[in-house]
């Protein structure tokens, strides 16, 4: 973890999770924020707002996360959550092909309606249900007895992500595989210029703005840094 002796500049990033119900959005957030997993998680109602800090070598990113419910009846509310978002995590379940179709719809909607600079990550979740060594990670849930539950190939999703200029990850909220990586990658991909900097919720926006400038000038981040988030 980073040396916390000298306070690093801290910026907040608004992030929204979108995707079909039950693909594991809330589970990814729960893993990222609390390093926890619940086997039979009850569906999200409405939307949940959570925050989590992520330490980069040169700065701290405070994610302000909107975890949306994903059910159809809430679709019309989605713009409220992605409107000012700097990043979006569009999640599908790689054992369920229809969820990728839904994910593509979300990507298209974001590209049309969200702020132009938005960083989008496409995330295929529930990797632990496949035979891939990476996701099995000890628990080997679906891998051992029941064979491979994967229905969406890495290649298919990856090539789509490349076409659309999205970050791409396959994760398991259950084992934690690749979860921090998604958020770290997003933190690293947010253009410096769009980072609002603040020393905490108390900081006035004016102070934040001046600080932002200072950071922009003096705090170039190390692109090679591979440092985990604060969890």
């Amino acid at each position: 973890m980073a040396d916390s002796g000298a306070p690093k500049p801290s910026s907040s990033v608004k992030l929204v999770l979108l995707g079909e119900a039950a693909v594991g959005k809330s589970s990814l957030v729960l893993r990222f924020v609390n390093n926890d997993f619940q086997e039979n998680k009850e569906p999200t109602i409405g939307a949940a707002f959570l925050t989590q800090k992520c330490n980069l070598p040169t700065r701290t990113i405070k994610f302000e996360i909107w975890d949306t419910a994903g059910q159809e009846r809430f679709a019309s509310l989605a713009p409220m959550y992605y409107r000012n978002a700097q990043a979006a995590l569009v999640v599908y379940d790689l054992t369920k092909p229809t969820s990728l179709i839904k994910a593509k719809h979300w990507v298209a909607e974001l590209q049309r309606q969200a702020s132009p600079g938005i960083v989008i990550a496409l995330v295929g979740n529930k990797l632990d249900l496949t035979n891939d060594a990476a996701g099995g990670d000890g628990e080997g849930a679906g891998g051992d007895g029941e064979g491979d539950a994967r229905k969406v190939t890495t290649e298919e999703a990856k090539s789509y992500a490349e076409e659309e200029g999205l970050l791409f990850f396959e994760t398991s909220a259950k084992t934690g595989y690749n979860v921090t990586e998604v958020f770290t990658a997003i933190a690293n991909a947010i253009p410096e210029t769009s980072l609002k900097t603040a020393r905490g919720p108390g900081a006035s926006s004016a102070a934040a703005r001046t600080e932002e400038q200072r950071v922009n000038l003096n705090g170039p981040r190390d692109p090679n840094a591979k440092e985990g988030c604060a969890c």
Partner: protein, 641 residues
Amino acid sequence: MAPETEEPAVKSNNEAGPGQETQGSAAVPSPSPSPSPPPPPLPPRRKASGEAPLQVGGQLQSKPTTAVSSIDISTLSFPDGTRGTFPTPSVGSGPSSLNSGYGTPTRDSSGDNLTDSMSVMSFAPTIRAPGDLASLVAAEFNRKSRAWNLLRSQSETVQPFEGIEFGDSGELAGFEREFDDIPENMTDDVRLSMWQSKMKHYLILSSAGKPIYSRHGDLSLINSSMGVIQTIISFYEGAKDPLMGFTAGKARFVVLTAGPLYFVAISKLGESDAQLRSQLEALYMQILSTLTLPTLKNIFVHRPSTDLRKPLEGTETLLSSLADSFTKGSPSALLGALECLKLRKSQRHAINNIFLKNRTDKLLYGLIVAGGKLVSVIRPRKHSLHPSDLQLIFNMLFESGSIKSGGGESWIPICLPAFNNSGYLYMYVSFFDDDNNDTQHPPTTPSQSSPSPPPTNNTPPESPQEIALILISPDRESFFPFSSLRTSLYNSLTKSGHLSLIRQSLSSPRPSISSILPSPSPSPSNSPSPISHFIYKSRPNVQFVMSSLQPLFVSPIARRKLMSQYQSLHAAMHAKHSHLKVIYSVGEDCASLGWVTPLFEFYCVAGPNVSRQAMTEAANKVVKWVGREEGRVFIIGGGVF
């Protein structure tokens, strides 16, 4: 919800057995020498004709709460331009009548209701339902074997439901498994018999016969049962004589038709039809709260064969937790009233004021709720809150894990059907929870990370201990103002010490009978409290207070038995044409007393050997105690702006 609007047409007076005491006029249990002021006379009975049609989404079960008097709710404009006025139900399309408590499919052709002159048996030509009040009163309450009499004479201190301890759960055998899932990996025969062994079922289907929800068993398992039920219901619909309920074996079937939906309750637990129907109404309200009434109607106007499961996706857990609270036995649902956290009047006043001081612009209602008990309410003078709406909110927050388990702050579009069934409000929810949210809201935030947050404890205590802040607005953009309201309110309440006061009160149990009725003799072991449990509902405040369930009524079966007693008393007192003010009944395993005045409803349960006199004396003492404690156990008025 209180089944007050639908009352069984059984006159309990006529069925009174030898052990049963009914009093038509004396409002105070007679043997009491109590000098307490005689409660005012009974309020006028509801007129039968006035309540015939069930207004879809609007039949209010009881008055709005937390208002000193029931204030007419006036108009509220919604951001989309719609306006809501309540409590007058706005749209009435429900064809069904709620009046027949035990109605098998007969109503007299005038459209009027069951009348006194008809006998119970004429309505229930089949086997008597377990929910049949007459059978409860006449047979079970009063059947005394010689052995029982002997036992009674030997022991004055038999506790209620002692049989449970000796493994005799009676009708409730198997109740521990009531909430277990029906496993998928068994043969259909096994699964079907497990399904049949459940004591309570709730089914929801569209009038076109499409299954929507079943508490037990996946829909494929029970598809054929759904079909049968739909056929039966629609058979009677065709005859312009809607089916209200019927009995098969030990199970009572009750049907509620609401708009395009059929709701069916199947119960072996002995509720009255009115009570079951009010449970079904609560499920309907839950659906409205998800969809709003116009949306629900639209869906079926355009495509009558729509599968409603998709639009309702994600709310099955809410329906189930609601259903389960009825099956476990919920005083709040039975009485249509809320419970408050006990606080000194001055403390509650101070909390209200802090709340009011922090309030923001677009706030419609603000509530602090601790473990399902109301702590503080702030509201505009013009708008009251309705218990049935609060029931839905409390269910979502405290009974189902949907919001609790998510962590963070929630922003939920919700329709509060009793308030306005045609539009959404937006509800902010955050828990004042030490190890969860508050780490995300440190009062001052030095930017600092927690490298490894402690594993959160996911096993909640037996009764929910969470303190929730609920802020409701008609404006969907209010989240961030509310989030800062939360921070400042949290800080103020922490600094003033009120948050720890709330926690303290929350962790102390409900009042015990022995603390309310101190034993007169120096050695309490010789003279146990005459009563074992009570519930007191304040009718003007639409709130209730009850004694601790410890130690006798903690197990699910004992609790269920207790609630069944209250249900029977409640049904008897609220039977449409009953003029009961006091009812006393003795059964093999307990004695119970109900007492209703315009100011309160009081119910208590005692061991089977407790004399009527001892019970009525105790009842009087408890009522006096509530009078003294009224400012602490009830919210009177609340914070108004």
